[in-house]
């Protein structure tokens, strides 16, 4: 069995690292998932003037300050992408492909995804539309599958699917050299809408359409409702109360993923509130066991 952490933090932007720092101060066994840049939005910011105590700073410089703080507190970012988080009741199972981490509490600090869903995407989810090609590919054995890929990982998934499916289309949403098997047909067109009756069966582009049995949409980050099945979403953001509690016991959220305004200080403050409440949750569980 995997070691169980007290708190798993998903996301290494200001909300996530503030949560990590505060949980660490309270002596909890934590793991934080993210990237070495901490946040791609942060390093792109040319000038920040509303972060208290650090006026007129570039995003890059603020990132370096954050990193120094993490180093000083001996917090390492785990550079892995969480695909799914399952609320098992007493604990959470965090999946990285076939690998699993366990934690008593979870703090979501995933930021916001700017790509809008396709027309029909949400309507047909689970009825021909999916976000994990490798999970559901065997159900499409001998059928036609279209894969809309937002990054290179989509190509690997398409190659795998093409071994099972009768026909595989790949629709790249980025420009690059594609490393695809020869039996995959690449469509360089902009997808507009998924159509169908009770099941999705057609993908409509700007300049045409194809018939298909399944459509997989592979984005950089999965929407929070897909990341944590059962998580309540309101107007595109994770719903929380003022203690940063979500509808799932033991699961907290902070930062841009819970709503506007999208600001560094707000995110850091919410990360702190989430961490302190997660600590209280863990302490109450220990007391009651």
């Amino acid at each position: 069995m995997a070691d169980r952490y007290d708190i798993a933090i998903v996301g290494s932007g200001p909300a996530g690292i503030s949560a990590a720092v505060n949980a660490k101060i309270r002596n909890k066994n934590i793991i934080i998932f993210g990237t070495k840049d901490l946040s791609t939005k942060l390093i792109k910011a040319p000038k920040i003037n509303n972060y208290l105590g650090l006026p007129d700073i570039t995003g890059e410089a603020l990132k370096n300050e954050f990193q120094k703080h993490l180093d000083a507190m001996d917090i390492d970012i785990t550079n892995e992408r969480i695909n799914n988080i399952y609320a098992m009741g007493d604990y959470f199972a965090l999946m990285v492909n076939e690998k699993m981490y366990e934690a008593t509490a979870v703090i979501l600090a995933t930021g916001v995804e700017y790509t809008k869903p396709l027309k029909g995407e949400e309507e047909f989810l689970g009825r021909g539309v999916g976000y994990c090609a490798t999970c559901d590919a065997p159900l499409y054995k001998g059928k036609t599958v279209a894969i809309i890929g937002y990054n290179h990982e989509g190509e690997e998934d398409a190659n795998y699917v093409s071994e099972l499916a009768a026909k595989t289309y790949y629709i790249p949403m980025y420009k690059a050299d594609y490393n695809l098997r020869s039996n995959i047909q690449v469509i360089n067109d902009r997808p507009l809408e998924i159509q169908g009756d009770s099941l999705a069966d057609r993908l409509v582009f700007k300049n045409g359409e194809i018939n298909t049995d399944g459509i997989f949409i592979l984005k950089d980050s999965v929407p929070p409702g897909q990341l944590v099945p059962g998580l309540q979403i309101e107007n595109g953001h994770i719903k929380v109360d003022r203690n940063m509690r979500t509808n799932i016991e033991g699961c907290y959220a902070a930062g841009d993923c819970i709503g506007r305004p999208y600001q560094y200080l707000k995110a850091a403050g919410e990360g702190q509130v989430a961490a302190l409440n997660a600590v209280a949750y863990i302490d109450s569980k220990i007391k009651n066991s």
Binding site: M95, L125, L139, G230
Partner: protein, 104 residues
């Protein structure tokens, strides 16, 4: 939970007065492996009130096609042989309980 096959599926969902919860799963499906202990717990809690069975979609194509299973796990609820509810993907225990309470 009892494993049910194509040849006895209709019989299993038709007999009795209690709602029948069917877990469509496959061994290669990660979310299915996570959902199955949750359903086991519920099956014990709802003993006598709800019947729980599971169908491996790899070995039972007739049933899977009939109910148009296109993503797994899919959990369906039957009453007297008729489908009354469908839940696609993993869900926390509290959510599934809410779904079951509607049909008891």
């Amino acid at each position: 939970m009892k494993e049910v096959m194509d040849n006895n599926f209709i019989e299993e969902i038709s007999e009795g007065d209690v709602p029948v919860v069917v877990d469509f799963w496959a061994p290669w499906c990660g979310p299915c492996r996570m959902l199955s202990p949750v359903l086991d717990e519920l099956s014990a809690e709802y003993e006598g009130k709800v019947k729980f069975i599971k169908v491996n979609v790899d070995n039972n194509p007739v049933t899977s096609q009939k109910y148009r299973i296109s993503s797994i796990p899919t959990v369906m609820v039957f009453k007297k042989g008729l489908a009354v509810d469908t839940m696609i993907g993993f869900r926390p225990k509290a959510d599934i309980k809410q779904l079951l309470e509607k049909h008891i």
